[in-house]
Amino acid sequence: MSTRDDPPTRDSLLQGTLDLLVLRILALGAHHGHGIAMAIQTRSGDTLLVDHGSLYPALQRLEQRGWIKGAWGTSEKNRRARFYSLTATGHKQLTFETGRWNRLVDSIARVMEPGPTPENT
């Protein structure tokens, strides 16, 4: 259960990646911090475990950039929590980041492909 047993997962959550994941989750609807962490975990099939400690500074950063907006509200179990939702600029940023991510994954995939290096033309 502990995240500590699984260092590769933690490594994969570099800063830019976490931001992207948060934006993506919030595109589905408003969530509090804990909910976001759970959603990432669930959607990744429990392979991506979010370091809760870095999640909140990330939320703070995103909020300061104006991509997400936080407001205190009440959770489904009647608990007070800060709910985050995506702003209009956040939506744009998500589109942009998603494009970049896809290009990155493509490039990495091409590098990782077996076979000789293609000639530069």
Partner: protein, 869 residues
Amino acid sequence: MVGRRSQSDFEDEIRAHLELEAERLRAQGMSPADAERAARRNFGNVGVAEDRFYHAGRFVSIQDSWRDLRHAWRALRRTPGFLATCILTLGLAIGAVTGMFSVVNTVILRPLPFPSPDRLVSISGTAPGSDLPERFGPAAEFYLHYKERSTLLDGIFVFAAGRSTFRVGDRVERIPMAWPSNDMYATLGMRPIAGRLPVAEDEDNAVVISDRLWSSWFGRDPSVIGKWYFVSDSMKQIVGVMPAEFRIPADETMLWVSGEIRPGQRPLGELGLGSVARMKKGVTREQLAAELTRISKELPARFGGSPGYARIIERHNALVVPVVDAMVGPVARKSLWVLLGAVCVVLLIACANVANLFMVRAEGRTRDLAIRRAIGASRAQLVRLQMAEAFLVAVAGGVLAIVLSRVTLPLFISAAPEGIPRLGLAGLDVPTVATAFGIVMLTALACGAVPALRASSPDLARLREGGRGSTRGRRWGRDMLVVLQTALALVLLIGSALLVQSFVKLSAVDPGYDTKDIYTFQFAPQQPQLRDGPSVGRLHLTVMDRLRTLPGVSAVGLVNNIPLDEGTNGTRVHTGDMPGESAGTLLAMNVTAGDYFRVMGIKLLRGRTFTNGEAVTPNSSVIISRSAVEKLWPGQNPLGRSLRPRIASQDTLVFTVVGVVDDVKQNDWRQAGEAIVYFPLTGPTPDAWAFGSPAYVVKSPRAAMLEREVREVVRQFAPEAPVYREFTMEFLARRSMTQLSFTMLTLGVVSGLALLLGAIGLYGVLSYVVAARTREIGVRMALGATARTVRRMVVAQGAGVVLVGVVIGIAVALVGTRALDALLFGVNAVDPLVFAAMSLMMVGVGMVASYVPARRASSVNPIESLRTD
């Protein structure tokens, strides 16, 4: 952009998260305690998260950066020399500015303690082209007419002020008092704190006393109200006590005699009263001046008067100035502003110095800062650290400044010339401390910003060089600071040199009389047998005779207005040669007896002085001064000629000139000698005998020690008479120059400080340059450069910077020294000699400041320097 969230809000959010997580774990079957522990573990380090929140995207903001301040304090403590220099420099400069601001604020800026003080104005007049002084107070009929006809006034009053006798039981003193018209209280809008205000029925038999008099003479005993005491010339009843802040017309005024002014009560054209008016709401001073000028033209039609009077009225223009300006006077006001300007310049220099020191410090840390940048410290973080350091230094300097100005302000105030209203009230009040704090913030910004921005520039290349590379670009900024310091210091130096020059010239002026070995005093006899002129004259002759027997006393005389003290009255004088309707010639007037001219060393040019007989028997002798001859009978022998003074248009005697004496500078050594007419003790009018208290002059080498013996002599002949205004002439001469000497000394100290700080600045820059170029100098010396060449190179570098500063300083001073015009005497505001001398001095100091680092450079050991690293 959303407002920044508070730290506690963020902590709430984390707490909410931990609860949610614990709940989830409990739902999976964990015990509550385990669930909470696991939630915390899953979160990682809460403190770190909070820390990151703290740093995220924070901009340069000083507020509540407690952590930055702690960090900065630790960094500063590691360099105590740097810290002490900065704090001391800023403390001195901010202290000077705080103190001066407090004075300017109290004396000039703070409104008078009356309701709507901005509507209170002082009324005077000017009559260009007449022989009247440039500015004069109105006469009684002006006041009556203004009060009746002006549509823009909510009240006006006139007053006279002086010192007179106040007696309570055995205690007799001359105290400062005023004779205002009763409408003063309503015009100013003030009520007594005890008793009542005087009314018309009191005539001049009531007095209102000041809070100070009530405390010091009566111990605030309420029963004194209603009692009668001897005041000035008769018994008067105390009817009320004014509050402590009621200080009109001067700070020291202790008592106000009641009185009303009625038409016909005073002779026409007796100018020189003080007058204050309250303007209606919305009226400007210009409007009021225009209206008063216009209605003053109606005066001759209403009151009559001589053709001379009509001519003066024709030229008359009313002057309306704020009461504070009139009370402070133009010279004192200008001096205070000049001094405030000067200390602000010193603050600028100090800021330049501290900024310089900070820059040098930042250079020394280049490597450290570059490493921090490289491992991810944000630019903002580094700027913040620098700003926090500057802020700490400035705050410490500010605290030191407040302590310093607390200590030095009383010294400053006691050294200041007399008669600056409210000066005694200057102290560390809320506006002053607030200003000091504002200055501290600006200083922190000024001192911290440049080095901070520089330190944060992403100059990673410097890391590779180990922080020692070309110094060219960075030196430019510091050179500019030194240029600025040199220029400013030079401006102050030139200013104070001009004042010193003026002081020397003014001290060397021949006023027409001696100031050495002369003692002067007054006493005010009030004896029933002193009923007529001859009896008063006889008393004075007796006292003079007795004083002459004191050991060491060679001559004794008396005069009603001694030079350099309370001013002189004027009188218009007619000669037989003038047309009948002529207004006459305005001359200063004095009354004298005994050996006055001999004691004072005033030269007798023709004829004789008064005899003792002329002091006690009516006679028609008169003595006039050299320029009075020029005015009345130019180029002719005045002896035996006759003249007739016009004292307040009363009929006066015809006098015959029996002697001519040299001119004296009666009131101001800056002015030409005055044309004076001296009357014998019998006075200019048949009933003028009654003036009560002339100033005695006693010639003795023991002038400074005569006080006790003189008091004893007076006690023998007039035990009831207060003895006062006991001075030596030397003191009076010194006092007449305090305005200049005080400004000179203060500006001297301030410019000395500026020079010192400027020199330190230059020294600092060159030391740094030498240190940064050690390797280069080592190479040069290894290649054969001599110590001499190296020294010359460094000194030349310093001299170059100083020269640029001197050129700029001269340019600024050419314009700036005009602010001193009112104080200067016998020297031009752009005196080339002073400019040249001070510039040379500045260059000289610059050379000395450069020489020390130059020596250090020339002692560089080539081998050692090349091995550095």
